[in-house]
Assembly symmetry: C2
Homo-oligomer: 294 residues x 2
C-alpha cells in the first residue's frame, strides 16, 4: 500500500509511544517529533508506511542512544509468550482441527504489538487470547479453506514473521503443520536488525524457532517486508516459495500490492488497513492478497 495522509498522525504517535517505552526523556521526545515533522514535506507517498517507519525508528534510536531501544520489552514479550506455551499447545492438542487452532492462535498472537497499539498489557492480552472463543473471529474475513488447500499442496513455505512474543505463537503453528503434514520445508523470515518490537534472529533463537525450521533474515530493518530493501537471498527464497504466509500489519502494508499469492494473517490495527481489507479495526483476519484493495 502507499502511504496515506492518515498515516501521518500515526507516525507521530508511534514515534512518541516507542520513545516513551524506550525511556527517552521528554525533551528528546520533542526533538524526535520535530525531526519527523522536518521530514514530512519530503515523504514520498508512493512508498509504503514501513519504509517511513524505518526512518522514524532510526530517529528514535538516535535519541535513545541505544541500538535496540525496545530490547527489554521485546524480551518480556517473548518470555511471557513462552510462559504460556504449554497452555497454547494443550489447546492445539485438544482441538479437532489442530492446524486451524494453531492458525487462529498464531493470528491472535499478533495482538502482542507495541508498534501500533499502545501500552498493551501483554499478560492480559495473552489471557484474552486463551479465553477467546474461536467463533468470535470474523468468519467473513477468515479464508481458512483456501489457506488449508494451499498449505496441503505446498512443499516450500515461507512465513514472514512480525513481532516478538507473536513469534512464539508462530513456532507452535510451525510445529503443528510439521506434525500434521510430512515433507514440508518451512522457512521463517525475521528482520535483519532491531526495529520497533519486531523479531530478529536473536529473538527467533531465544524462542527456539531455529529448532523447528530454518530461520533467515529479510536483509532489511524496515518494520515490514519492503522488497526493494530485502537481501538477494531473501528474495530468492520468497520467489521460490510455493506458499507465502505473511504475519502482521507491517508486512501487509509493504506487500499488499505484490502480484504473487500471499496469505495475510493479522489483526487490523488502523482504519486505513481495515478499510482495505473490508473489515473492522480489531478484527482478526486471514485473507489472500487478491481480496485486499489498498
Amino acid at each position: 500500500m502507499k502511504t496515506y495522509l492518515d498515516c501521518i498522525p500515526c507516525f507521530f504517535s508511534q514515534a512518541l509511544d516507542t520513545a516513551r517505552i524506550a525511556g527517552v526523556d521528554e525533551k528528546n521526545q520533542k526533538k524526535i517529533l520535530d525531526e519527523i515533522a522536518g521530514k514530512l514535506p519530503d515523504i514520498s507517498f508512493d512508498f509504503s508506511p514501513p519504509r517511513m517507519g524505518k526512518n522514524i525508528y532510526n530517529i528514535v534510536r538516535k535519541y535513545s542512544g541505544k541500538d535496540d531501544p525496545l530490547e527489554k520489552i521485546k524480551e518480556k514479550s517473548n518470555n511471557l509468550a513462552l510462559s504460556i506455551y504449554s497452555q497454547l499447545e494443550s489447546k492445539v492438542f485438544a482441538s479437532n482441527n489442530p492446524v486451524l487452532t494453531a492458525v487462529e492462535l498464531s493470528i491472535a498472537g499478533n495482538i502482542i504489538d507495541y508498534g501500533v497499539s499502545r501500552q498493551v498489557d501483554v499478560k492480559k492480552e495473552v489471557e484474552n487470547i486463551l479465553n477467546r472463543e474461536v467463533n468470535s473471529m470474523n468468519k467473513g474475513m477468515f479464508h481458512y479453506e483456501e489457506f488449508e488447500r494451499k498449505l496441503a499442496s505446498s512443499k516450500n513455505i515461507l512465513i514472514l514473521g512480525d513481532n516478538t512474543g507473536e513469534i512464539v505463537f508462530d513456532k507452535l503453528f510451525i510445529e503443528t503443520v510439521k506434525a500434521e503434514y510430512k515433507e514440508k520445508k518451512i522457512i521463517y523470515a525475521v528482520r535483519e536488525k532491531p526495529v520497533i518490537n519486531d523479531a530478529t534472529m536473536k529473538d527467533a533463537e531465544a524462542c527456539g524457532l531455529d529448532k523447528v525450521c530454518e530461520v533467515i533474515s529479510s536483509g532489511s530493518d524496515a518494520p515490514g517486508t519492503v522488497m526493494s530493501l530485502c537481501s538477494e537471498k531473501f528474495l530468492e527464497v520468497y520467489n521460490n516459495a510455493d506458499m507465502v504466509i505473511s504475519k502482521g500489519q507491517g508486512n501487509l502494508e509493504s506487500l499488499s500490492q505484490e502480484k504473487r499469492e500471499i496469505f495475510f494473517l493479522l489483526m487490523a490495527k488502523c482504519k486505513v488497513v481495515a478499510s482495505g481489507i473490508g473489515c473492522n479495526v480489531g478484527d482478526i483476519v486471514l485473507v489472500p492478497g487478491s481480496l485486499i484493495n489498498i
Copy 2:
C-alpha cells in the same frame, strides 16, 4: 492545561479531519499537514492546545478558500438538534428533577463534536442521547449537588458555549433553569469568529439562544476560552459572574488552571484530559475545576 506531546498527533489528525469535512482536496490536505509540521519546532508547550488550535484552523481555512469551512456541517448539527428539541423538552418535563435532566442532556449534547471525534453520525448520536440511561453516567465524576448548590445561590451565571448542535441542548438547560429559579441572569458566550465547528453569534441566533438569554462573544476565535485573547467586555462578564459553567473540552483545556471556581461539563475526548480529570475517555462528567489536575 499546557500542550502535551500527545497533543501533536492529534493536531495533525484534527486538521486532516477538518480539511476533509471542509472539502479540501488531497494535495492541499498534504500542504496543511506540512505547514503544521513546519510550525511544530516553535510551539510553546506552555500555551493551551486551543491556542495552537486557532492557528491550525487558520491554516485549514486558508487552504479551503472559505471563511467558514464547516458552515454546512454546523448548520446540519444545529438543525438536527433543533429537530429533536421537543423530544428533549418532553424528557425534561417528565423528569422528577428537571434541572438535573437538563444538565445531563446539555453535557450529552457535547457528543455532537466534529472537532475531536471523527465522522460522528449526529442523528445516531442524538438518538443515543435520547435513549441514554441517566444512570449510565459516571456518577463519581458527576458533582451535581455542588453544582446545584452554586446554581441556587448565584444570580449572574455565565455559560461558555462550545459546539454547534450542542448549543440547542444548552438552550433547553437555560430555559429549564429560568423556569425553576426566578431572578437568574444568564449570559451565554460564543466564539467571535468561526473556528472548527464551534458556535458563533450566528449559530446562537439561528438556534434562538438570544431569545432565552443574553448572548455575548468571547472576543476570540480560539476553539476554547483563551483568556489572553478574549475581549475586555467578555473578561468583565467573566470576572463579575457568580457562577461560570464551561461546556466542552476546548474550554476546559484553556481554563483548567484558572483560579476562580468553574464547573466543567463535558465528554472527555482524549487520554490526556481524561487522565487529568481522573475519568475514562468517553465519560460524561460534571466536575469543578478544583478537582482537575492538568
